[in-house]
Symmetry: C2
Subunit: 200 residues, 2 copies
DNA sequence: TTATATTTGCTAACACTGTTATTTTAACAT
DNA sequence: ATGTTAAAATAACAGTGTTAGCAAATATAA
């Protein structure tokens, strides 16, 4: 009896229709504007049909999150296998990581919960500049007494800040709510590396 | 006539009641569950009253974002002023930054748009581990041939990843949508610094 | 003091969101 | 053709941000 098979096949078609039209909407208008109702409209089924394929909206997002990590992992593996020297690998992988993030911005935002609304907000905040000034002043002084006094202030400041933010947000994403003071070693490690490289 | 003054004072009281009860709710249940209706309930006014003080919900969030950057800038300035050597300043400021983020998690999440829902999600994603394995393998090889082969693999991996993520997300927050290939210099700079420090 | 403005705050509604209980429709097996 | 089962639709519930329209309290002017 091919009936059950056909039914399964049709069910699978609806499922992939949900995902593909969801993805289309996300690429067009971002995660914020993705809604169950719009998906239902797009696939020309009623709303509850979607809940026969996914437990809830979060499950749909989880699907894309997994996809994103898979894609990134594949790209990273491919890059690593191009080089034999581990240092070259780390360098090239960093490039691959960067390119993935901006080539597949939607994936990256979802994977790391980069709230898109804040992007608009943070640019309106003049108060951020005060922070910049403070951080950059120490950078400038450090560069002045370093062995390479011609280094780019803004670049080094940006690097410094990015390292800090990366450490914090990876930590926040990984363990919700746990401070884990031992993780401060990572901070110490990264910053001492940065300063060492800053002073040459 | 003190009437206008009293009115202004009363209006200011309502405004600060909005902010303080909003903040209370955020600390108790996170940004996700903050709603205009709940604020109205808490201050014992009707909903539209809130719109007499803030144009919309975003404006309330913007208020806290500004507050967050001010607080952080103050702390950073205080820390910097404790030290004379710029390297010490950078080191101490990194600590201050870290502490602020976790002592005032709510601020930090808002300031950098760390979508809280993703935190629950990312931990469910087994696919993330594949990525970890790939990154960590190169780190291990690099450590093995470095001058300090006893370095902590996991710590160095975490540092590597955090630098990458920090660079990407700061870049995404700063310029919405613009790839800006010149910013890849920052990546090159940070990663070469990391590798240098990794190899000793 | 009374009448007229004005401000102020409320109720109710609109247009959305995710989610689900209920009912109808359709497909299949006997 | 009839009974059974699976599928899908309607309609509703409980939320969300936001706003129009109206009633009441207050301040100003006559």
């Amino acid at each position: 009896m091919g009936i059950a098979e056909r039914r399964l096949r049709q069910k699978e078609e609806v499922r992939s229709a949900i995902l593909s039209s969801a993805w289309k909407m996300v690429k067009e208008e971002g995660w914020q504007s993705l809604s169950i109702r719009k998906i239902a409209d797009a696939i020309e089924y009623s709303i509850p049909v979607i809940y026969n394929h996914f437990e809830n909206k979060e499950a749909i997002l989880l699907e894309f999150t997994k996809e994103g990590f898979q894609k990134l992992a594949n790209k990273m593996a491919a890059t690593r296998n191009k080089y034999k020297e581990p240092c070259k690998q780390l360098e090239a992988m960093a490039n691959t990581y960067w390119d993935f993030a901006f080539d597949h911005k939607e994936y990256y935002q979802l994977m790391f919960g980069l709230g898109i609304p804040a992007c608009d907000r943070v640019n309106q905040v003049a108060e951020m500049k005060a922070l910049t000034v403070i951080m950059i002043s120490s950078i400038e002084e450090a560069i002045a007494v370093s062995k390479n006094p011609d280094a780019d202030h803004f670049l080094k400041y940006h690097t410094y800040w990015s390292i800090l933010h990366g450490l914090v947000s990876i930590q926040m994403i990984e363990k919700e709510g746990k401070p884990d003071p031992s993780k401060k070693l990572i901070l110490k490690d990264a910053i001492s590396g940065f300063i060492k490289s800053l002073m040459e």
